[in-house]
């Protein structure tokens, strides 16, 4: 299974190697850890599309109708059926998929969901620099404009890729991460007041490395609202591969 997965991953056209580096986390895990090392890893260049997910469901029928604990009622709700996209654009990113289903897809390909650190590191690249998207006004306004847009996401790859060759890290959909709930897990260990702060008021503005980085605030708030079986019409995923 793993071997097959690796072969499948290696033969994928839509996959790039991201050189390692250092990532400045939005919420440093501790005051000393303002920079986290990131190992090189592979990542899908676009979010997984409806067509790709349909192919997966045909290979793995058990994910056509998973139990509620793995994917809540709205799983693939905009599809005509789990084997029929209906009117949906096959080239648009798949949404309404749970964390469990997204993980199953990535594991089938020999990878897994990216960690929050991997995703944020990859997403911090601009078109020309490996870091800086979080401070880049153009990226920020792309993200803010996207929040104001209504309707289902259009096809992937309509905008220029970032330095790593990744498309649509911003401005198309939300994406699942492996440890999307790590903010809550780590804050459970703290006193209740601190946990609350992460969950609502100012979302831990005290801990955030850059309180003006509204887009990061929103991503972290969004992730922390999720449960692993949640499915929403703006949430999809892409996979990561560690060599």
């Amino acid at each position: 299974m793993l071997l097959i997965g690796l072969i499948a991953a290696a033969s994928l056209p839509g996959f790039v190697q991201i050189p390692g580096g250092e990532h400045r986390p939005f919420y440093p895990p501790s005051p000393e850890q303002v920079l986290l090392p990131v190992q090189a890893f592979g990542m899908d260049i676009t979010p997984v599309t409806n067509q790709e997910f349909l192919d997966f469901l045909q290979r793995e029928p058990s994910w056509q109708d998973p139990p509620i604990i793995l994917a809540e009622g709205r799983y693939l709700q905009s599809w005509a059926s789990p084997t029929d996209l209906g009117a949906l654009d096959p080239g648009a990113p798949v949404t309404d998929v749970s964390w469990h289903a997204a993980r199953a897809y990535c594991q089938d390909r020999g990878g897994d969901l990216p960690t929050v650190t991997q995703w944020e590191f990859a997403a911090d690249a601009t078109q020309t620099q490996a870091t800086g998207a979080r401070q880049d006004p153009a990226t920020l306004s792309l993200i803010l404009d996207w929040y104001a847009l209504q309707g289902s996401p259009g096809p992937v790859r309509q905008r220029s890729p970032n330095l790593h060759g990744l498309y649509d890290m911003h401005g198309l959909i939300w994406e699942w991460t492996l440890d999307f709930n790590s903010q809550l897990i780590s804050s459970d260990a703290r006193e209740a007041g601190d946990q609350d702060r992460v969950r609502f008021c100012g979302a831990g503005a005290l801990d955030a490395s850059d309180p003006e980085d509204y887009a990061s605030f929103m991503r972290f708030a969004y992730r922390s609202s999720l449960t692993a079986n949640a499915t929403t019409s703006n949430l999809g995923f892409r996979c990561a591969y560690s060599r």
Partner: protein, 492 residues
Amino acid sequence: MLLSVLLSCVTKTVEIPTALAAESRTTGGSAAGDLGAPVGDPVRAVLTHAPQVPPPTGRTEPAKVIVELEVEEKVMPISEGVDYTFWTFGGEVPGEFIRIRQGDTVEFHLQNHPDSKMPHNIDLHAVSGPGGGAASSFTAPGHESQFTFKALNAGIYVYHCATAPVGMHVANGMYGLILVEPPEGLPPVDREYYVMQGDFYTVGKYHEKGLQPFDMQKAIEENATYVVFNGSEGSLVGDKALHAEVGDTVRLFVGNGGPNLVSSFHVIGEIFDKVYTEGGSFAQENVQTTLIPAGGATMVEYHVEAPGTYILVDHSIFRAFNKGALGMMKVEGDAQLEIYSGKEVDSVYLAEKAASRQSIVTASAELAAGEVSKEAQIAAGSSLFAGTCSTCHQGNGAGIPAVFPPLAGSDFLNADPERAISVVLNGLSGPVTVNGDDFNSVMPPMSNLNDDEVANILTYVYDSWDNAGHQVTAQQVAAVRSGTDRPAGAPH
């Protein structure tokens, strides 16, 4: 910035009065607020959209009250032809009005629509407990949260979303009011209305048409593009004005969602007989203008004596004229001339500005259809002129000798339409001779007017007072505007 994020999160502290001697009248506060266990079957709260207020609870014993509020992210007009993606409690801004009685136990259900992009929660200032319910109501898209609280303090309270980044959720319209009636209820009045002010920050300037995204930088700088009542400019004018009859006692519940600005709330032509300052339990009497903090509310009451149109404003007055903070209450009934002669100046002036909306709408509708008739331009221009230029050049265009040059029969004006466009867009200063008289003063640039508006005003001016009759088009205005060099960062 750090501070502003933290300050927008209101932590409610419960104070138990220790030195009662200092204040002879007291409700006893939250320590005396628990009126016992709920009695009878649970009741479902009646929720209303602004400007309506739910009827009094009419209850004399504490009840269990079920409130269901749905969060919806929704594109709606913020002004004529200008759309904005609002985040709402109940599908409108402000959120639905909730009315309960002190001592009630509220079972609160917060639903987040499946199409939402954001998680949301609710912090009700009427809750005694950390976060005002926010921690217990953090809700992902397509989910529902439930929590329960007992309302211990009577008063009128703001509720708002407190999800990070708080400022942005509030700036997008996530606020409303909850009234906790005192045990004996509020004194009966003839009419109750719900008005809530909010400030909005868009990438495009005031009245720039189309879907306008949120401008975070303007929000941080507290440089509001719109300041409006009930979620959009014009929400309380014309057909949508509040209504009362001569002899009525009116009660307004007025909230201020912010996120940034404090309101100087005033009703032109009225004096508030009572103001429950900051929504507290004891009234101040005979107040002209009352401050409503961001994240605060007030209750005002007044008896109306004279028929006519009363204008609700934020008396930080540029917000009323140039950002939208203007509403109306129309009072019908017989005139009482000994109280009011019928010539109140503020009222007439503002009514003209407010009345202008209809003709402006006609012109922009025609524009959308491809062509604007000169008649429509003149009609729209006349009301814009009254609201924008007549303060200085006078309604009859005659100006004021030595101070404001005439537009009526002005040789300077008639000689060159392009130059007139430039005067409006860029202002004019220094010596200028009009019809043989010298002026040396300053006209401020009116570059906040859009191309259509400038074209309509000038077409009206040229058509009036024996002027040359030129028709000015939006294209001409656009050409002059783009041909003008402006320092980087200046408004254009």
